[in-house]
Symmetry: C2
Subunit: 105 residues, 2 copies
């Protein structure tokens, strides 16, 4: 049993999205990404099996998809997609994401 | 690609913890549990392989463990444990949890 307080441990950076590894096991990998306003996780995809969930814990922004697609991403929004499907995020305000990848990359 | 807004779709109930299935796939199962103050997910465990993560999206409470153990669970706290390990949650304020189980039960 392990507990992490993301609002205390997850830092921001002026240089770009800041990343905190929360957990890594054979079952899933859990990361915390923190953004200053305007920072982004560029659209990307990995050609492997599995899915990713992206939950907005604080702040707001937009989920990004292929061909310039975007979806509103307020606090409480959760995106789920195949890891092979293009996905990304752009922060409007300071924002904290919880990202879960299964199976772990 | 699927998006769910938990703060809009995840309801509360006066009868006890309210549950919303967010996603179920061969990779993971994602649930949203919503609590009124004082409501709880009783300590429980399943004798199977895998792990569970429990993230506090809103509100606060305490994570519960075996033998009456408890850990503070403010917004932004994430608990990770084996599914076979006793775990639970008790809400102090109205609270929203994001629960991810891998592999899915």
């Amino acid at each position: 049993m392990k507990q992490v307080n993301l609002f205390a441990e997850g830092k921001f950076s002026d240089k770009g999205m800041a990343k905190l590894l929360v957990h890594d096991s054979p079952y899933f990998k859990i990361l915390n990404f923190n953004f200053q306003p305007g920072q982004e996780l560029p659209v990307h995809a990995h050609d492997i099996e599995g899915q990713v969930s992206i939950a907005v814990l604080a702040g707001e922004g937009e989920f990004l998809g292929k061909d310039g697609a975007s979806l509103p991403a307020p606090t409480g929004a959760v995106l789920v997609c195949d890891i092979a499907e293009p996905h990304g995020f752009r922060a409007k305000t300071a924002a904290r994401l919880l990202v879960t990848i299964a199976p772990p990359i």
